[in-house]
């Protein structure tokens, strides 16, 4: 498709190529380096004498008899019970995503179909809520949660994350439902459906692409959250990210930072798969706000 006039001069080609290579190294290399290093001992991963030790695993061989070791993973998952955090994260993500989407589709649909002024104000207020850093809300939660004795439990964290997620979910689904032709549910209502039946039988079957995209971002918010979950979950119920942060406090003194490295790699792996399988949806979600203008 490139015509002669469009053909780039050689110098420009080279500049673009170098940019790409440099950026790819910057973006991907840290992850592969950490993945590789997570199978070494600390003396290799942090080597003052010779940085190539991290590649060859010289100290790892001396200490364990092999150039690869799963000590870090064993320490994190078994000794420090990271599996518990992983299970908590699974529960939190599962419930946050399903509840957010249920609330969000109902609300987003109504906001997309209402022509009254208050729907606009509702969205504007949601936008204000979306802009507030979640951590500013935490000092409002704590006294009440302590008082009612619900601090530290997973359901509390789930409902808080759902609420924090709502503004974003509503905006995204609202703009998505706007793109579904209004005639679709209106003709169902002419045929005698109630509003809810029209939603149930006509809109739900066609809404899945948008719901999946929104769900991915709800998942990421719940999975990546540190500020809120670190403050409102107790040690037993910690999810993965606060757990990793707590490793830093306890294990750095013990000289076992490799637990944290292994936990970091374990937490990144699902995200890696997520981007791999849902790249198209993530791209469309990230650009959704912009394309609309």
């Amino acid at each position: 498709m490139a015509s002669k006039a469009q053909k780039r001069p050689l110098a420009l080609q080279i500049v673009l190529f170098v940019t790409l290579v440099v950026w790819m190294i910057a973006a991907a290399f840290p992850f592969f380096w950490t993945l590789w290093g997570s199978f070494k001992v600390e003396a290799d991963f942090f080597s003052l004498n010779n940085w190539t030790n991290a590649l060859t695993g010289r100290m790892t061989e001396i200490e364990t008899g092999d150039t690869f070791t799963t000590q870090g993973y064993y320490g994190a998952w078994v000794q420090e019970e990271f599996w518990r955090a992983a299970w908590n994260s699974t529960l939190v993500c599962l419930f946050v995503v399903s509840i957010s989407l249920t609330f969000g589709t109902l609300g987003g649909y109504a906001l997309a179909r209402s022509t009254y002024r208050y729907a606009f104000w509702f969205l504007l207020i949601a936008l204000i809520f979306r802009a507030m850093p979640p951590i500013t809300l935490v000092s409002g939660y704590l006294p009440v949660f302590f008082d009612w004795n619900i601090w530290g439990y997973l359901p509390t964290a789930i409902i808080v994350l759902v609420a924090i997620n709502q503004p974003f979910t509503l905006w995204m689904l609202h703009s998505f439902f706007k793109n579904i032709p209004q005639d679709l549910d209106e003709s169902a209502m002419v045929d005698g459906c109630t509003r809810f039946q029209a939603f149930r039988y006509v809109i739900i079957p066609v809404m899945w692409p948008g719901v999946i995209t929104t769900g991915l971002f709800s998942f990421l918010l719940a999975y990546n959250d540190f500020a809120v979950t670190a403050m409102i979950l107790d040690k037993q119920n910690q999810t993965m990210v606060p757990k990793i942060a707590s490793f830093l406090g306890t294990t750095q003194t013990k000289g076992n930072v490799m637990f944290a490295v292994a936990a970091v790699v374990s937490t990144t792996a699902p995200l890696f798969l997520l981007i791999m399988f849902f790249q198209r949806q993530i791209v469309s979600g990230l650009t959704a706000g912009a394309v609309k203008g």
């Binding site: 840290p30 942090f46 109504a110 204000i128 850093p133 990793i244 790249q279 912009a290």
Partner: protein, 340 residues
């Protein structure tokens, strides 16, 4: 849609936001005007065989009763806002009088916790936002020029730094720039200074935090620009070419005007996100060199004794900051949707 149906449809969502966003805001504002009760001190006279002595003791009962009666604490007005850990009105005035010149004033101001946090937060926002946009644009142009079959994997790796948990992304970089890590070693070699350590140097720490910021947000700018580049009208480009526009003129007069609205969008989202910078400071263990407003709230709440009122006051100040930054977005949304 009828009022009635609308009400039932938005009810779950509205309830969740009401209970866990709106009420907490109200509660934070109220809390920021109150301080915890001091313990009630009573004087007790102990009379023994050698005469009487008076001692002070804590009246546990009265303290508990007082706390029960007014659970919010003592009303303090703007006291917390004015104290040393927040706006530090007195210290501010003092510093202003004592310091010689504006530079000295700023340096001294950075010793006050709130201004230290505000200083870093604003610098971070001001540096990271434009760099993110610039790098995002460059990467988008570069990826757009690559062969079609390569673009999928290129986008995959580009997205990684943005999608990965901020705390984790920060840690991964931090371990590499550690004096014993691979980038740390390279830096020492390049600077030819065997004692160079990012952890020990405030300037380097600020730079590293901002490098992290650009690294993790550039992919967002990239993806928006990349999507924008796909929709540049080829007709307009061709017309420009026929009229004799050079490559640069095509970019300057066709591509950039097309991408401009996207730039405002990215800038607004980035301003919002960068203002809440928090996780990298935890990852980099940087609190000695750099703090942010979000970090200050976290620090108040996670200490041995939770300083709720202090955290609440910082929260209110942070929200005011966000509101100032956000006002253009609100006006824009109001204009574009309000007409309908």
């Amino acid at each position: 849609m009828k009022h009635n149906a609308f009400f039932w449809f938005v009810l779950p969502s509205a309830t969740a936001m009401m209970l866990f966003i709106f009420f907490p805001i109200v509660s934070v504002v109220i809390q920021s005007f109150h301080v915890a009760h001091e313990q009630v001190i009573i004087e007790v006279e102990n009379c023994g065989p050698f005469g009487c002595t008076t001692a002070t003791a804590i009246d546990q009962e009265a303290t508990a009763a007082l706390r029960e009666e007014q659970p919010l604490g003592r009303f303090a007005g703007l006291e917390i806002y004015k104290d040393r850990n927040h706006l530090a009105v007195n210290e501010f005035a003092q510093t202003w009088q004592q310091s010689e010149g504006i530079g000295d004033f700023v340096v001294r101001l950075m010793n006050l916790p709130f201004y230290k946090a505000l200083g870093f937060t604003l610098t971070y926002v001001a540096v990271v936002t434009p760099l993110t946009i610039l790098f995002g644009f460059i990467i988008a142009v570069a990826v757009n020029s690559a062969a079609r079959s390569l673009r999928g994997p290129l986008i995959f790796f580009t997205l990684l730094p943005n999608i990965v948990t901020p705390l984790i992304g920060g840690l991964i970089l931090f371990w590499m720039v550690d004096a014993r890590g691979v980038i740390g070693t390279a830096l020492r070699y390049l600077a030819d200074d065997p004692s160079l350590s990012v952890k020990a140097d405030t300037g380097l720490m600020w730079i590293m935090l901002m490098v992290y910021g650009v690294w993790s947000s550039a992919p967002f700018a990239f993806i928006v620009y990349y999507a924008g580049l796909q929709t540049v009208s080829t007709d307009t480009l061709e017309a420009a070419r026929i009229d004799g526009a050079s490559r640069w003129q095509q970019i300057r007069h066709v591509v950039i005007p097309h991408l401009l609205p996207l730039t405002t969008f990215i800038a607004l989202i980035q301003l919002m996100d960068n203002f809440r910078v928090f996780e990298p400071i935890i990852s980099f263990n940087a609190q000695a060199h750099a703090t942010s407003l979000s970090w200050a709230i976290y620090n108040d709440l996670s200490g041995e004794t939770q300083q709720l009122s202090s955290a609440a006051a910082t929260s209110v100040l942070t929200v005011i900051g966000v509101a100032i930054l956000l006002s253009p977005v609100l006006v824009r949304t109001y204009r574009s949707y309000g007409k309908a």
